[in-house]
């Protein structure tokens, strides 16, 4: 019905507009059905509007499709080769599009703006050809489009017009010289899946080129990735974009600056990440449960936290201690954190808030904070440990940073031993991003972060996160990706290792595993059910440790440790 209406309207407009084109002599009264009398249709300038595009609001003649498709393809390539930030923002700015149906002409105008290609040749050269040649038809169609009344051909459409076009279809480019095929309906392939595979292959090829130090090839490939990424939608697109950026940084040696500012920014981003997906919550809840169980029966407890950030792990523990059967213990908390920019003591502020919270539930609370550039600078003596108190050491996504400097992790594990903790809780990413071969690291991280981004897209927001939260979480993860792919040496701090690797490390440092009980498992499962649990998050138990994953892929792992016998320990000074 719509199509017919459009047919009618375009029919009528031809009648009113000047038919100066050679086509004007053709009768316009025919209401030929589109799927019959193709040839006649090709002679009529405005019948046979493609129905798929018509649904989107674009009036593109079926016979024009090939040409429009080719131009869109060219446009896309042109957009890709120009520096991302300049042109895309320019295109997506709030410019008004007056005649969205005039697809062919705006593509033309975009092309001539971005990339002065001799596209106009196509039109001018073919205008002298015979009428029956579909190419001429194309050319004269274009002219007649002009006559149809869209005066301002230079109007640039907003990015919003661009996007749905791409996501819905990828028009298969066919050269206008395939004249006979123009008579049949042109093929519209939805090959975004094919493009997705191509995207992954290109990413891997680029990484391999970097591995072989062929930076020129890598540079070309990374541009290709950029183009292909645009054709994707959702998680794949975001992951590909981040990885492409990271690869580009590595190729062109444009490393991300690790300024002091970045630590406060990353804390802010982490807060948003906290809201959007259950990973951090899972980490906190399972670690707290292990600590609670270890503290059973103790009247003085002391937690040493390597990953204080905003202290959001501790309200739940304080509450649980307050409701402990048998009454609450006295609670001491020592925080160790990195220095902050402009000397604000966020750790102290966090301590004040936690103290206030502890006060409202009548828990005796003591807080101390240490600022250190690296955990390796801290030793047990500084912490003023008292006899009679049970100590717990907690580290959420912090230990892997120590792997950048040789010897650091051993030193830290040693100091932990000297603290004589009742329990050590460690939460780490379940992935090996610390291999010595770049290509392996790249492949691993590609799979890992793809799954992570998938879960961000697919998982429910837990009833509280906004799309802003999601965006910030993606930026947060993007920074990690940048670090894994683009940085090296001391700067590459995101050196994730798998649970099995950590097990070996902890074992050789003299720690024995503590099994996380069924309470932790149940709480974790329940937490996930809040996040649309059936959607995809899974809790797994792995030899006493708990892992949270998306579908079949575990993504983070919580483990708990206690001191083993002193005999089989190698001391590092």
């Amino acid at each position: 019905m719509k199509r017919e209406h459009q047919q009618q309207s375009s029919n009528s407009s031809t009648v009113t507009g000047s038919a100066s084109a050679a086509m004007g002599s053709v009768s316009v009264s025919g209401k030929n059905k589109m799927w019959q009398e193709e040839k006649e249709r090709s002679l009529q300038p405005d019948a046979g509007v493609d129905e798929l595009l018509a649904v989107l609001g674009y009036k593109v003649k079926t016979s024009d499709m090939a040409d429009v498709a080719q131009k869109l393809e060219q446009l896309e390539m042109a957009m890709g080769t120009v520096q991302e930030t300049e042109i895309i923002s320019h295109l997506s700015s709030d410019t008004v599009h007056f005649n969205p149906s005039d697809l062919s002409t705006w593509v033309q105008s975009m092309l001539s703006e971005i990339n002065p290609l001799p596209n106009s040749d196509l039109i001018s050269s073919s205008s002298s050809q015979h009428i029956d040649d579909p190419v001429t038809v194309l050319a004269t169609q274009s002219c007649s489009f002009q006559d149809l009344g869209s005066d301002d051909l230079r109007v640039i459409p907003g990015g919003a017009i661009c996007a749905p076009e791409r996501e819905k279809k990828r028009l298969k480019p066919s050269s206008p010289t395939q004249s006979s095929s123009a008579l049949t309906r042109p093929v519209i392939l939805v090959d975004s899946q094919e493009n997705g595979i191509r995207l992954v292959h290109t990413l891997l090829a680029c990484a391999e080129a970097i591995q072989q130090e062929n930076f020129q090839l890598a540079g070309t490939l990374v541009k290709q990735v950029g183009l292909l990424a645009i054709s994707q939608a959702g998680a794949m697109r975001k992951v590909a974009t981040h990885f492409a950026e990271a690869l580009a940084r590595r190729i062109y040696r444009f490393y991300p600056e690790d300024t002091l500012d970045s630590s406060s920014i990353s804390e802010l981003l982490e807060l948003h990440f906290y809201e959007t997906c259950p990973y951090l919550k899972f980490a906190h809840f399972t670690a707290n449960q292990a600590i609670l169980e270890a503290f059973q029966g103790e009247s003085h407890v002391h937690v040493i936290d390597f990953s204080m950030k905003q202290g959001i792990q501790w309200p739940a523990l304080i509450q649980a201690l307050a409701l402990r059967p048998g009454g609450p213990p006295t609670f001491r908390l020592t925080a160790i954190g990195p220095p902050q920019p402009d000397n604000t003591d966020t750790l102290q502020q966090v301590g004040c808030r936690l103290a206030h919270l502890a006060e409202t539930v009548h828990i005796e609370f003591e807080y101390r904070s240490f600022v250190a550039n690296s955990l390796a600078d801290i030793n047990a003596e500084m912490l003023n440990l008292r006899s009679g108190e049970a100590v717990a050491v907690n580290s959420v996504f912090e230990l892997h940073r120590l792997l950048a400097r040789p010897g650091a992790i051993e030193r830290v594990l040693n100091s932990i031993r000297r603290m004589k903790p009742k329990i050590v809780t460690i939460v780490e990413q379940e992935a090996n991003h610390n291999g010595s071969v770049f290509l392996d690291r790249f492949t691993e991280s590609l799979h890992y972060y793809s799954t992570l981004f998938d879960s961000l897209e697919g998982g429910g927001g837990g009833g509280g996160s906004t799309s802003e939260d999601q965006m910030m979480s993606e930026v947060y993860l993007g920074k990690q990706i940048c670090n894994v792919v683009a940085c090296e040496g001391l700067e590459r701090v995101e050196r994730h290792e798998t649970l099995s690797q950590w097990r070996i490390r902890m074992g050789s440092a003299g720690f024995n595993p503590v099994h996380l009980g069924s309470n932790a498992f149940k709480q974790a499962s329940m937490l996930l059910s809040l996040f649309g649990g059936v959607a995809g998050y899974r809790v797994e138990e792995n030899q006493g440790c708990l892992m949270l994953g998306w579908h079949t892929r575990p993504l983070i792992a919580t483990s708990a440790w206690k001191l083993g016998p002193v005999a089989d320990l190698v001391e590092f000074s």
Binding site: G311, P315, R353, T360, V361, M526, G533
Partner: protein, 161 residues
């Protein structure tokens, strides 16, 4: 009167029956007075026996009913009625929950969603189960405390400045 009938339909629970008896008594005493002019204490007594959705609906009747229905003690009854003994004395629980925002908040923000979600994920219907386990309760309490902490941030910063 319609309300009475609804309540009757809702439960074979003897609480409801008890309430019915009280209502009949009330009706006979105050046959000329409107139901909504019910004495506050009487209303409180009645609302002690209703379930959560009813209590929530009761708070929408009028201002007086709202004031009575939002009483923390009523919501404490709603919360603690079904949960298994979580091991610590009532007074302790009460002080913690009230400090972090109250039972009404606890129930609407956390208890109910957690219970619903658990029931759903175990492929049962999404009706709230009648026995609330330790884990559900602990999880809800933890989430409540986290919320208090997060909200404290805004207030605290304001106070500091």
């Amino acid at each position: 009167m319609k309300r009475l009938l609804n309540l009757e339909e809702e439960g074979e629970d003897h609480h409801h029956q008890k309430m019915m008896m009280m209502m009949k008594k009330q009706r006979s005493i105050l046959s000329k007075t409107e139901f909504s002019n019910l004495n506050e204490d009487m209303l409180f007594e009645i609302l002690k026996h209703v379930d959560a959705p009813t209590l929530a609906k009761a708070s929408c009747v009028n201002k007086k009913w709202q004031k009575t229905s939002n009483d923390e003690r009523l919501w404490e009854i709603i919360c603690t009625r079904h949960w298994v003994n979580i091991g610590c004395p009532e007074a302790q629980v009460r002080s913690v929950v009230l400090a972090f925002g109250g039972f009404r908040l606890l129930h609407s923000l956390y208890l109910r969603p957690v219970l619903k979600a658990t029931a759903l994920s175990q492929n049962q219907s999404s009706t709230i189960p009648t026995k609330w386990g330790k884990d559900e309760v602990h999880l809800s309490l933890s989430l409540l405390s986290i919320r208090y902490y997060e909200m404290m941030d805004c207030n605290y910063k304001r106070r500091q400045k």
